[in-house]
């Protein structure tokens, strides 16, 4: 057709969409192709979504097409998106049709609304892919972010590779590489990312399956459980053992035991109880946090550094509740009541920065972690166990009368998470739910 070839680049502010545009303008000029380009930067560029648009007229007949200034439905030959949702946004805006080769990155850069959700607010990826597969004439997909990182470069170079891989524009690979070289900045990593993108685009799109680590098998105690429950418990048992001791695992299993008879829906209720109970019983007290922060597998990489000096600083801010919670029940309860003792301990609650790669910091955290042996006597432990038992008691009573509600109450355990105020708010929401459920009995 007697019309320019169009290229639309959908990027996020700061990803270097402008750099891709500059490369494309330069390489078209090198190849003797008439090129026009425009963009909508400005405030939109501060982390918002933005598009760059180019038109190429390769005929070399001296005629100058009137540039469209923006993509128009029906004449979008090549659309490249640096992120999955932005690719779908191009569809939404009508810039992806039968004539379109759509090149998209498979990775997600989550929006503020998705990130802010207290639970999981991420868009359903399977649906996004369905839209792209349905609407795009041709779809090329690869992880531009991963390609760029692997090459030690930025995503713009991977996008250029995606443009080349699509083979919609009349340019040879040398033209692309020449444009990068002429750009003059970070040439080697850009070239590596460009070539990495070519390879990645040629490979079929890997359908991402969330990898679930296999549970530690072999615990004989798992054998007594129905298989569906054993899958969950298989993850729970080592966690509980690690958290406290072997007796703690037995305690867990005995608390779980009454629910094993509920086999409805492939043991939905006992599965959920097994999950929630394991998480709750391994609540994050100061002892647990100190222990996790000083794991060898966490600190080793920093300690093996030879070239540079590397320090890891932990940001901790225990409240009076955390301090007293670690103490023996009676002492902790007294501390919470005693204004004088609280005043004396206030400096600890003003925020601690503990260098866990220093002898002092590591030692302090280890001493704290060592209090594990007295955990069962601590105030926090007694409080948590009280909550756990009343939750399980409610579930046991609901299991027969209202299995659906029982499952919801079991799931609502995930509200009880986090630290400080977030934990308190979650606990309050959880209590409201259990109170309502209690009232329904």
């Amino acid at each position: 057709m007697d019309r320019p070839i169009t290229l639309t680049i959908a990027a996020l502010g700061g990803q270097g969409g402008g750099v891709v545009q500059d490369w494309m303008v330069r390489l078209a000029q090198n190849a003797g192709c008439t090129v026009q380009a425009t963009s909508v930067p400005g405030v939109a560029q501060r982390t918002g979504a933005t598009i760059y648009y180019l038109e190429f007229w390769p005929a070399g007949d001296g005629r100058q097409p009137v540039m469209g200034l923006m993509p128009a439905a029906g004449v979008c030959d090549l659309v490249i998106a640096s992120e999955l949702v932005e690719a779908v946004r191009m569809v939404q805006r009508g810039f992806v049709g039968e004539e379109t080769t759509l090149v998209t990155s498979t990775h997600r850069a989550y929006t503020i609304a998705e990130k802010s959700d207290p639970a999981d607010g991420r868009a359903e990826e399977a649906e996004l892919w369905q839209v792209l597969e349905e609407k795009a004439g041709r779809l090329l997909a690869f992880d531009m972010d991963a390609v760029a990182k692997e090459a030690g470069s930025v995503i713009s170079a991977a996008m250029l590779g995606g443009i080349a891989a699509a083979q919609v524009l009349p340019f040879a690979l040398e033209h692309f590489e020449q444009a990068i070289e002429q750009g003059g900045k970070g040439v080697a990593p850009s070239l590596a990312a460009f070539r990495g993108a070519l390879a990645a685009a040629a490979a079929p799109r890997a359908v991402q399956v969330a990898e679930v680590p296999a549970p530690a098998a072999g615990d004989p105690r798992l054998a007594d459980l129905p298989e569906a429950v054993a899958v969950v418990a298989g993850h729970a048992l080592p966690r509980l053992e690690d958290y406290q001791d072997s007796a703690y695992v037995d305690e867990y299993l005995s608390l779980l035991e009454p629910f094993l008879a509920c086999d409805a829906d492939d043991y939905a209720l006992p599965r959920e109880v097994a999950r929630g109970l394991a998480l709750w019983m391994t609540f994050e007290d100061t002892i647990r946090v100190a222990d996790l922060k000083t794991r060898p597998e966490r600190l080793r990489p920093y300690l093996e550094e030879q070239q540079n000096v590397v320090r890891v600083t932990e940001f901790m801010k225990p409240r009076m509740e955390e301090i007293s919670g670690t103490l023996p029940r009676a002492l902790g309860a007294w501390l919470m009541r005693s204004p004088i003792a609280r005043t004396l301990l206030t400096p600890l609650t003003s925020g601690l920065k503990i260098r866990s790669t220093s002898l002092w910091g590591y030692g302090l955290l280890r001493v704290l972690a060592g209090m594990k042996r007295w955990r069962r006597a601590s105030l926090r432990y007694s409080e948590e166990m009280k909550e756990i038992r009343s939750w399980l008691s409610l579930l046991a009573r609901l299991a027969d009368s209202n299995p659906t509600l029982a499952l919801s109450v079991a799931e609502s355990q995930q509200l009880v998470s986090g630290y400080g105020d977030t934990h308190a708010e979650g606990l309050e929401a959880f209590r409201n739910i259990t109170a309502t459920a209690e009232a329904s009995l």
Partner: protein, 697 residues
Amino acid sequence: MAERSFVSEVAQLRLGEGDTFRGENILAVTKALLECGVAYIGGYQGAPVSHLMDVFADAQPLLDELGVRFESSASEATAAAMLSASINYPLRGAVTWKSTVGTNVASDALSNLASAGVRGGALIILGEDYGEGASIMQERTHAFAMKSQMWLLDPRPDQAQLVDSVRLGFELSEASNTPVMLMMRIRACHMHGSYPAQDNVAPAFTTLDALDHPERDVERIILPPSTYAQEQQKINERWPNAVSFICEHQMNELRLGARSDVGIIVQGGLFNALSRALAVLGEGDYFGNSDVPVYVLNVTYPLVPDEIEDFARGKHSILIVEEGQPEFIEQAVNQILRQADIGTKVCGKDVLPMAGEYTTGVIQNGLERYLGKGGVSQFVPLKELPLSEPLPVRPSGLCTGCPERPLFASMKLIERELGPRHVSADIGCNSFATLPPFDMGASIMGYGLGGASSAALAGDGQRRAISLMGDGGFWHNGLTSSISNAAFNQADGVTVIVDNGYAAATGGQDIPSSRGEAAARGIRQSIEKAVRGVGIRWVRRVHTYDMQQTMRTLRDALTTNQPGPKVIVAEGECQLNRQRRVRPLQAADRAAGRRVLTERFGVDESTCTGDHSCIRLSGCPSLTIRDSSDPLRRKPVAHVDESCVGCGVCGTVAHAAVLCPSFYRVTTIEHPRWWERLLQRLNQQVLGWLLDRREAA
């Protein structure tokens, strides 16, 4: 110091006859000013015309050679007043700003300039910030042209055409003694193109010549009875002169087509979208030709009645493609044709939408209706995708490491403590606080008007509103309109001035309180002294990254018994500019083997429970989420990606809000001092032994 360097663009300004200029249209216009013998230039930066200011700010040696006076004006009003030099002297002057906001600010001076009339050509280059990517309320510059009788060029966004419009704009201004506005839409400003460059022309009469030969003319003063005479001149002399100049120089273009029954009148700036729409519909080609005749208004005010009558005569109908509202051109064309007793039907807003950007798709829809092609086809964006939830939107936000983030997080935490407050926001990066996750700010009234917009809500000494303002807004207008006003009226509110050292939102230009090096500018002025100078007694400085101090000061300001306005100057360097400043220095230190300290933050996945409260209090782009590798957890966990600049706000927020112990900082020291290395070795030995022992156990 702007966000990027304009060295290569400055080199382009030196091109001469025989060279080809290649680059953005706004830069071609910049170059064209020098080719037209401009004597002085001013303006206020803002998208999409910032680059004009940025390039000239970096081009002082060239401007000195040519004898051109350049100012980074304090405001658009300043820039407009600068044009008064063309009232009495044969000086060509050009100013620029973002419209319509800038034109609003400038309109007092513009009205007076238009009334007085000009002797030297006065050109106002406007970035029409309308449609996608616009950051302001949606209005038309056209109304300003009509009310003040200034001429409005809206040229076809072809680079050679634009450059020509600059030249013709000056000539038109001189031929009709009227200031001329040249407007360019966002995409047209940023469009890359080329044109055959001409030599730069030093002004024949310079601003220094004017000082040597002072002149005045009482008829050009804005006082009665001159003003009455000036209004008559506008109508009886300047307007007819302008119309004949436009006509004679064929500034508007007639593009003939085979069809005689229909025709289209289009604003020049929309020609490309129209042409593309015609091509996609099969009514034209991709090179600007179509069967439907098109009359391109490169000058949208004033219209040339004869040309319009000739175009419409004999046609069944014509379509006006005119973006925005009200439909001034459509009304005027109707009036022209009725008065000439021409019965051609005038279509426009009946087939095209009254409001909103005219994208190719929108024009295509209108054309289909106008040309009787029936139904409206697939060219409207798909409002609804087959998704269970709407596609997530991606609003603009504060950059990674932005110093305003800890300020707004502090305000958020103080709000939790003392209850919600009325917050008046302002123009600039700080306006992003009105968006998630901060969601603070009830109104935006204008640049530097944050304080002024709390004037009615001055309170009773108990209840206090908070007003926000950037340092850019402060120097633009805020010192007088907001701060001095509050002092004079003894308003009992709290104003927070964000002192990040630059006009950050428009690209990091210098302002009076900038702290860098700028030989040609009088910088390093103290905001605090200025505030005290207009009579504010309660003034505090805080460092935004010190959230404890910031929260303490906010609490104090909101609860103190001291009456009168409270001003907090919240300091923290714009991170974009800081990175631009610091990175080369770090690279140099690294290369020279000097000590380099870098910090990065991280979230411990093992202790993160996935409640995301850290994200809701910060919204940093580098603080994101990812799947938990813990098979028992369903919620994604927080995660700091590699774009982290180590500003430390996430850790500080975790402290201040008592969030969780998951944040950690990794400090890396390259080329450490010997004792740092020694200490590290010692730690490594002992800790390594301890870890070995644990693993063995």
